[in-house]
Symmetry: C2
Amino acid sequence: MDWGLLDRYAKSLIKEAGHKIRVSFFSEIEIDSKASANDLVTNIDRQVEQFFIRKIKNDYPDHKILGEEGFGDVVRTLDGVVWLLDPIDGTMNFIHQKRNFAISLGIYVDGIGVLGYIYDVVNDELYHAIKDGGAYLNDERLPYLSSIPLSEAIIGLNASWVAPNQYMDHKKTIELVQSCRGTRSYGSAAIELAYVSTGRLNSYISMRLSPWDIAGGMVIASEVGAVATNLKGEKQQLLGQDTFIVAVPSLHKDILDNYISLKE
Amino acid sequence: MDWGLLDRYAKSLIKEAGHKIRVSFFSEIEIDSKASANDLVTNIDRQVEQFFIRKIKNDYPDHKILGEEGFGDVVRTLDGVVWLLDPIDGTMNFIHQKRNFAISLGIYVDGIGVLGYIYDVVNDELYHAIKDGGAYLNDERLPYLSSIPLSEAIIGLNASWVAPNQYMDHKKTIELVQSCRGTRSYGSAAIELAYVSTGRLNSYISMRLSPWDIAGGMVIASEVGAVATNLKGEKQQLLGQDTFIVAVPSLHKDILDNYISLKE
């Protein structure tokens, strides 16, 4: 496999998809809800996923595609080449804000992330990485992340995880909020992974993410020295929902050891 | 007073200050802390405030200036023309992210907001309003905000207000988090007021803000039909810290009536 060629191919699809999304701002968007009232999807999410699938199936017919909107393959294993795609990560922001969403794409080979992309469409900021080849914002290399103590760290953490919830002891989460420098919440895992990868956030934590939310960002974060696992500290499982934390190693360990207590 | 002239004058100062801030990205920033370890200030905050004060004192010597960094006047009443200025609202973001901060400026006459500005420096987005003259993003008029039920509303609310705190019953805040469509937190009151004024957020709530954080944004929000008060539902007091909520009237009332319980 010529990874450089696949990288250029993926980028060209992402840029074309971004253009389609920007054009969609000029027409009425159709909004539906999925599993719950606040789990939103639009005709644009669907059209963009279908665009990717049509292209990839034509040009790389042996690759598998796991897409958020379900138009791809039924993927039961990560054997071979698998594209993990979220055509619009942060659909609620896309609808309400027309910003703060991204195209998120990871290309994995036998379960290993080889190429990763986060495209902040509105800001025309493309974050990408090739395994062992570094991470980039547009074409500028992202520096390796420095260690930072929790007391100086800004953490991406939504208020809903500080309220009592089914996933973890929220009292420990409250201690985390009170021990760090500050928290932020942007409503898109891909955007928050891009923020961690550029040091704008020092960690991002979520109780429930899907493979397509994080597959691209994990490749990028890894190339700048961040560690991404589930909240048990185990390798992220990429065939279903899981908990999530990403941070530089010392902060990752501090948070997991001292501020996360999962219910089970 | 020629308000059109003062508006053009204020805009030219803001744009020049924004340029100074962008240029500062190319040199080392000096960081100090103020009242607490996480209450940060930089040499750039100070320089930008001093730039404004020097200009205003020269050109409008009878105007008073209340600035975050304390180089302005000792302002004990809002009589006359008072400039309420935060040279960099979101200093922590300025330091950590080099984005998501703003210049915030309100010009008040006898306590009434007449001109308001929020300048998102990095995105070159200037929000402004003239009392009874409408609100604008760059030079595009912002539409009047529509009503929205809480169940469809996105609220700007930091995780720290969902943790037990000295200001309000956090159990009610938890109910609010669980009753709205979602929460976000951007770490700059001015940016969050700009978001509410453009409908990207439907409300923004904070337990502790200073006059310069909100003076500009309140003029803008008012011109698109939002109501801003403290969390008792009273007129914001602009000579000291206060609680804060902004939203369209029906949502403002719903949140205050049903989800805010202040400790006193």
